[in-house]
Symmetry: C2
Subunit: 175 residues, 2 copies
């Protein structure tokens, strides 16, 4: 028996955003362990940079934090959706911007301990402004900031979304 083999999966709950399963895995000492794992289809986040070198973010209510948060545009992958298509779709829907240049940076796990969600991170340039296309029950405001403003906002605790802090710090290295 190999270590860390998933030998059993019981579905506990199935929802619109994620499922919850109870996994049985093998440990290096030969024992078995039970773990609750959130199963999520994955997401994409995009760091959009205008020709004037402003970064485009959205402010919206988040259920997990129970507060309004400032974030880079992001969203859950539709079934079988390519992460790049998802990133460009969310950018256009939430901000109205269309990007002519997009580059994949890396893939990350936000909470690898108990959630399968993997986020693919993109950088977008060559932005052209169109019209946002929000769902009826989606309320999102677009805000644009310089890199130096965003770095100051991280130090001041005004940005609390982890993928957004990571994205700003990454962009600061390459800008």
């Amino acid at each position: 028996m190999k270590p860390y083999e998933v030998v059993d999966i019981q579905k506990v709950y199935s929802g619109p955003i994620f499922d919850l399963v109870k996994q049985t895995i093998t440990l290096p000492n030969g024992k078995e362990a039970y773990r609750d794992v959130i199963i999520h289809n994955g997401a994409a986040v995009i760091i959009p940079v205008t020709d004037e070198k402003k970064l485009v973010l959205v402010r919206q209510y988040r259920n997990g934090s129970n507060s309004m948060l400032l974030e880079f545009p992001a969203g859950k992958l539709d079934h079988n959706e390519d992460p790049k298509e998802c990133a460009l779709r969310e950018l256009a829907e939430e901000t109205g911007y269309h990007a002519s240049g997009i580059k994949q940076l890396f893939k990350v796990y936000p909470v690898a301990a108990y959630c399968s969600e993997q986020i693919t991170v993109f950088l977008a340039e060559g932005l052209k402004l169109g019209t946002p296309n929000l769902d009826e029950d989606e309320f999102v405001e677009t805000e644009e900031y310089s890199l130096s403003d965003l770095l100051q906002m991280i130090d001041d605790g005004d940005i609390q979304d982890m993928k957004t802090i990571m994205g700003v710090l990454y962009y600061a290295r390459i800008a």
Copy 2:
């Protein structure tokens, strides 16, 4: 009725690491919406820097990613535990290092869309090596890297844990 007021909470599942609830919230258009939210007690992560300017990380199996990941030491807050005590405890348990200097950097939500987990991020210096104290079913290897090695590993896709990438990029700004 205020927008984004949580007007009802139904518990769906209660587990050792997190609970799952179904929340009813009010929207700005006066409608109500139902959201699945993971309720988590919070966590702490620590960026440990040795006197030789090496960063201390741990490699361990993660259920969410179903793979071995390289991460800064981190863990879930015990009931009523102070995040700083949690960070120092996890550092000592997982790596054997005790820190004489610790500084809180900021607090972040890894998946604010659907999980209440908030991670407090610390920087630790003045490290003294003792003996790790792992649980019987915990298997963790300590590894130490220079900042330049870690930045290269991010670019190569060899670090996939989001809080670790964020921590390396943050440390690169202040180092």
